[in-house]
Symmetry: C2
Subunit: 463 residues, 2 copies
């Protein structure tokens, strides 16, 4: 592995020469990745014209001249479907773009005027910005690299809450009867694996996020392959390692363990090796409001999922990731999305709550000296704020159109600034509605603080 100083130097040289930056956007399903990336591209393309990017000094100072899409370097990675997303937002009525599946990429060439002009007075400069979008679920698989199959199996069965357990019940009742020492029956294992995958799907639809293995939710071309047909084995609790090591290769245990190893080597590792370790900057999007809406067990589940996910950014020297892949992300943003679904005076609380949710990983990141910023934003603002007379007080309220097409004026309630206590859940003071995007007439997409996120992520490269 390269030393930090040498690595930093190489990076500096590479970046100085190529003027390029690889920025990755992730988040769990429904966190708002597609909306974020669409709006980001849209703002940069409208920079210098209609885009409102006052929180980016380069834009405020009139030095950001615009951006155009150019050919991406990775020919085997699907292109981020920006045009399709814009078509959805421009439709009548507008609708949210289709979520992306798997990884996608888009390259922008950004033109700007450097702040300090040296020898080349009046010259413009260009920065190649490679944007990547990938499912946060893939990062939930990182800890799987640190386990062997029995360890992973025990960990998976250890900490499921009541509602989660109920969703797994059908699978568990079948899997519990499976003898690790019995000869593997191909069709039986396929059936139990399919039950397991369906229970993961059901858990995700019910709002749970901490789901492993991540690829079971989006199998793509691997649909039906044995590598996606393993699952935790409840009966392993009665076996120690010596006994397991003696089981024959065609036993249930050995068959599932081989698939688990294949998953580690051929699914999880290649993502980190081929993509992740080449990212320079990263933003993690979190749908905090959605989890608040869904109640305590799902909120706790999100917290666990995020703690797991954030391990991919912990570059302490002894971390699993640093040992395996020497990643180089040198700046990180975490953002609570959909801030337009609460009134503006709640945005501070939203950011605080996000920080509270991520308290532990944030401490680790700061200790590892990874610069990180937390913020709340709306990539595409779908509501407007109105002051409303309510019980003789002027209160801010949101006006927007629900997904069903009903125009409403709502008081969504208060966001707690700290992790909610039992008492808070008992009150249930929430009603965050989902809104559809507002109709628009060309120009840049409306947003809240997307410019702040952008400045943190790429502003230093546009000086």
């Amino acid at each position: 592995m390269r030393q930090p100083l040498a690595r930093e130097l190489t990076n500096l040289i590479e970046r100085g020469r190529d003027r390029q930056l690889r920025l990755a956007v992730t988040g769990l399903s429904r966190a708002g990745k597609t909306a974020f990336l669409t709006s980001l591209v849209n703002q940069l393309r409208h920079a210098g014209l209609e885009a409102r990017l006052d929180l980016m000094p380069v834009a405020r100072e009139g030095r950001l001249l615009g951006a155009r899409r150019v050919s991406q370097p990775d020919l085997g990675v699907p292109r981020f479907p920006y045009d399709q997303a814009m078509a959805a937002l421009d439709a009548d009525p507008p609708f949210w773009p289709q979520p992306t599946r798997g990884i996608s990429e888009l390259r922008l060439s950004i033109r700007y005027r450097p702040a300090r002009r040296g020898l080349l007075r009046g010259e413009t400069a260009e920065l190649s910005l490679d944007l990547f979008d990938y499912p946060g679920e893939w990062l939930l698989d990182l800890p799987l690299l640190g386990h062997d199959y029995p360890g992973w199996s025990r960990a998976m069965l250890a900490n499921a809450g009541e509602q989660r357990r109920a969703l797994l019940a059908e699978w568990e009742s079948v899997a519990a009867g499976l003898d690790p020492a019995a000869e593997a029956n191909e069709a039986e294992l396929a059936n139990i694996a399919s039950l397991y995958a369906r229970s993961l799907q059901a858990a995700r639809e019910a709002g749970f996020a901490n789901l492993q293995p991540g690829r079971f939710l989006l199998p793509g071309d691997l649909e039906g392959a044995p590598v996606l047909q393993f699952f935790p084995l409840p009966a392993l609790k009665d076996y120690d390692d010596t006994r397991l090591a003696k089981l024959p290769p065609d036993s249930v245990y050995a068959t599932l363990a081989a698939r688990f190893r294949h998953y580690q080597q051929h699914i999880v590792r290649p993502f980190y090796r081929d993509h992740f370790r080449r990212f320079d900057r990263q933003i993690v999007l979190v749908d905090v409001l959605g989890a608040l809406n869904a109640g305590p067990e799902r909120f706790e589940d999100l917290s666990q999922a995020l703690t797991t996910l954030m391990q991919s950014f912990d570059y302490g020297k002894r971390s699993l990731l640093s040992r395996l892949f020497a990643p180089r992300i040198d700046r990180l943003a975490i953002a609570a999305t959909k801030a337009d679904h609460v009134t503006p005076e709640q945005h501070g609380n939203l950011t605080s709550l996000l920080e509270a949710l991520l308290a532990e990983p944030l401490q680790d990141l700061r200790y590892a000296d990874v610069p990180v910023k937390a913020l709340s934003l709306a990539a595409i603002r779908a509501t407007e704020t109105h002051a409303v007379e309510h019980q003789k007080q002027r209160t801010p309220a949101l006006r927007g159109t629900t997904l069903e097409g009903e125009e409403v004026l709502v008081f969504p309630g208060e966001v707690p600034s700290q992790l909610p206590e039992a008492e808070f859940w008992a009150r249930q003071g929430f009603d965050f509605r989902a809104f559809r995007p507002a109709p628009r007439e060309g120009g840049a997409l409306p947003h809240i603080r997307l410019d702040a996120a952008l400045d943190w992520l790429i502003g230093d490269k546009l000086r």
Copy 2:
């Protein structure tokens, strides 16, 4: 490269030790791959019981004891969905199984009693049979490895017939205006590529088979990736190689050429390297009757597609394939499928027509000393033959149920034993109807000559 004798020896040793055989099934879309593989597995599982396998000596002599499914060795390859296929055939009313997409695999362990008993009298033996199913369209991409981009582009535009040309017209009118020297516009290339892919899809739906690049028809996880966004460039006819070599890397020409090379290296080669060169035996299924039904241009197109496809089995020392991958297929079958759609006395003609269609590739194969057998079969028989009084003569007719559920008795007409002439097409004496599978009551699937195919493909390993 290994010498034939050395190769043969190595194979003998490998196979002797492992007792395993890798049998691949291919064919162009709708040739009947899924039905064939489903029936093959079904017959072997019912061997020794209800299966009628009289054309296999090992079965006729009562030495074939049965087969069971075991874990497949390639964990990253989707399992062939045998259970789903059987569920479709057992439904009320029965329907044809969903076609597979991409490659799939299934391993059977076949138990039999060897004919010559030596030291181990009365012992049984086992053969591991790995079955693979993959789209014949992938083989159409082989010649692409022998071209550079300008060569491929010219070849693609050279020989399209009238109907085919009409399907490409919209794409061609746009592509013709594209200047190879102009700077590539990412969005424009994506649009033209998508037009091209759609015209390939339309051509396939219209019954054409000779379509390149094959992956454009089934993109899977690569949907939207630049590697699937190239196409022939009509304006290249005005350029020579020297002029092309001078075009800058961001030109339309250089961008498309880079994608073409990526397709060669990362899509076509890996299939041959990771899968194809490991197959021991191969059967190629051809829907001759469907092409006869579709008329002269499509029949000619099928002939061209098959000639291209068969190049993958030409192991002459100077063939592209032998130089690149040293494949080891040592026995080949080609079969006209859906023989149950014509009356039995036409089966001989059907086989002759198939041989006429493949005359040139068959000559090459015989010259290269690859054992090959042509036959006609019905993997799952959907009709019954009845003798009918017609114009005072007893004529055989077919009774079956159409896809729409209508029970019919038909005289489908005569199959020519030679390549049809213009006069034949003018007569148009054909009406091959599509039938749905017959309802069944357990037992083995009814078939025509599947046992003959099986005996040719694996019989020698069951002596």
